[in-house]
Symmetry: C2
Subunit: 216 residues, 2 copies
Amino acid sequence: MSAARAGPLFDDAFRENLGDLLRWRRDVRRFRPDPLPPGTLERLVATASLAPSVGLCEPWRFVEVADAKRRVAVRASFERENRAALGQQAGERAALYAGLKLAGFDAAPVQFAVFAEPDPEQGHGLGRRTMVETAAYSAVMAVHTLWLAARADGIGLGWVSILDPAEIGQALDVPKHWTFIGYFCLGYPVASADTPELERAGWEHRRPAAERLIRR
Amino acid sequence: MSAARAGPLFDDAFRENLGDLLRWRRDVRRFRPDPLPPGTLERLVATASLAPSVGLCEPWRFVEVADAKRRVAVRASFERENRAALGQQAGERAALYAGLKLAGFDAAPVQFAVFAEPDPEQGHGLGRRTMVETAAYSAVMAVHTLWLAARADGIGLGWVSILDPAEIGQALDVPKHWTFIGYFCLGYPVASADTPELERAGWEHRRPAAERLIRR
């Protein structure tokens, strides 16, 4: 087998660093307001585009949100839905929920939404006939790729899902048929951690991975 | 800021290797039949569990498929749906489709399905009220994490979506309400490449990432 066909070989040092990257990737809500270097989002979107996509249809659509009025509209949707979610929490959980910081709108210098084109011409439909949701799944993997590449640069990402998808599509004036995946805050994190903020705040804790694997 | 709070710093060499990992990760369909070292799937599932999950609900459910009869049932579903998909391709596309290898059932030593628990108690509903699909999205990021960790070990993963989700749930005897994410073949790849097989086969080609980024 030629070297070209074999591709790169990764060593133990790389695998250890990759493990650190996965352990220290966080859903960041506390950002420093410092700007990111020019071209950061463009570079990260290029890396994200290396993600797998069903039928090679590359359905991800990144929408950078720079306009102040549009940002206000997104934040208003979050505040509405977050109040509604708080109203559904009972007793001690309500107090705990009220104390959580669930978005980084206040300081994140870069904000963007991600959508999926649900029925792209690219890819010629391959792999989507019985599972149309694989287009959205492909966009999710592009987000995750961007997330890891950002963390490797010391940049944090926060995923906001406490939003009304229809309101966000309208606020950002994108095609109505696009599938909203999420809204994202990007910037330098105030701190790093190898434990999720929801775990440190006492909201939830991780369970042993072995419980998630069954055999048939 | 203390070293503990700052977390690991990643250097240019790591970032370059990470870029190689992303560029050389492939959707593998051609496997060597050699077995994987014992415990490989358990180890990869543990790494996958470092993935982000909405509300820290860890909704991913991995189902290793070892039983020969269950494997036959999955393969039969694929063959049925693949014939139906071929029937929908017209003219030259049909001949091209017929020549594609779209699953690695024949040789992959390890096979597993992934499902999502759509409404887990864990996480107390946080982040899912307006977007129930974020549970499935979390499972997709666990798959993507496993995919990258496998590639770093020289192991290939292939995602099969040309299946009837209800048939797979039944064939694997899992709770009816679980959301089927995909079926996966895992093993040593016959070859490595930095270009998708669908591109090498002339099915589709990647577009410039900049076309996927718009501004608002």
